[in-house]
Amino acid sequence: MAGLPGGRDGELAFTAPWELRAFAVAVAAYNNGQYEWSEFQLSLIESIRQWEQSGQDPDREPWSYYEHWLTALETVLAGSGLLSESQLDERTKAVLAIPRDASHQAAHPEPVAVDPAVR
């Protein structure tokens, strides 16, 4: 992630790969004409506002900017009928069900292919 070596997290724009991905997906959807930027912006403002107003709630999640970004994106896309929360929930479950090393179950201590030299 971009940032100075030894820089504090606060200096970065992204602290995890999923944040950069969520950002890029939102811009791609905008580029595809799925919403006006102002629609997305208003949805983002609303998500942030709700979080800020729940300040006294002991169960409130810690501040995470890109979670609001993701919520805003889901809300705008659901609002236009493009996708539903249940569809997204199901697909998320499917992604989580993929074993971490699905295609790397066994170590391969030798080269998997050798293209011999011609001397």
């Binding site: 890029a24 791609a28 959807a29 912006q41 569809q87 997204l88 929930d89 989580l96």
Partner: protein, 204 residues
């Protein structure tokens, strides 16, 4: 909307899931998303704004054009794009110091500064810089301004994107534009710090 607190793994999976659905629907391609990630992680950044600001320091006519219509002036340098359609540059002087914020979300002039740092987006900065700008500058950024200087806080919203033309430091006469640009930091274009001063030449 799920009410349980999501783990980072769940959130990451949700982003993957969302992207995969949108790709299936033909809204985007993996390559397009990859390219955007690349651009906003590595290509767009404050070095672009520094180029513009350096030109404004070096060329008074350009500076006037920048102050009159920032987006149009930036376009002269091929700089512009998403979130920079309606930029306004505010100039720091000996009497006035400007600082920018987006009180409601994170509006920021991407084409000249890249994406905002986390602190800019946090509730603490967004509210406190408006209520107590001098205190925040001093305590959070180590930047003390004399009482004789007026502090103006500009709130980006709707489509307007403010950014700051910092004051040109002393001892920079005759520097080339690239050398001037090297002094202009992201923080100075947000207004939470000054531009850097040139390193004094070493005595031989």
């Amino acid at each position: 909307m799920s009410t349980h607190v999501r783990t980072k793994e769940e959130i990451a999976a949700r982003v993957k899931a969302l992207e995969s659905i949108l790709i299936e629907k033909g809204i985007m391609t993996t390559a397009a998303v990859d390219r955007l990630a690349e651009i906003y992680e590595n290509e767009v950044g404050p070095q672009l704004g520094a180029k513009v600001a350096a030109r404004a320091w070096a060329d008074p006519d350009f500076k006037q054009r920048l102050l009159a219509n920032a987006s149009k002036a930036c376009a002269e340098l091929g700089i512009g794009g998403l979130q920079g359609e309606d930029m306004v540059v505010v100039e720091n002087t000996a009497d006035v110091h400007n600082v920018i914020v987006c009180t409601l979300c994170s509006c920021y002039p991407w084409p000249v500064l890249g994406l905002p740092p986390n602190w800019y987006k946090e509730p603490a900065y967004r509210s406190r810089i408006v209520r107590q700008p001098r205190k925040v500058l001093r305590e959070d950024f180590g930047y003390e301004l004399p009482d004789s200087v007026e502090v103006r806080v500009w709130d980006s919203s709707s489509e307007m994107r403010y950014w700051v033309l910092p004051m040109r430091p002393e001892g920079t006469d005759g520097l080339s534009e690239p050398d001037l640009a090297a002094l202009i930091t992201r923080d100075s274009m947000i207004g939470v710090g000054p531009a850097r001063s040139p390193t004094p030449a070493r005595a031989s």
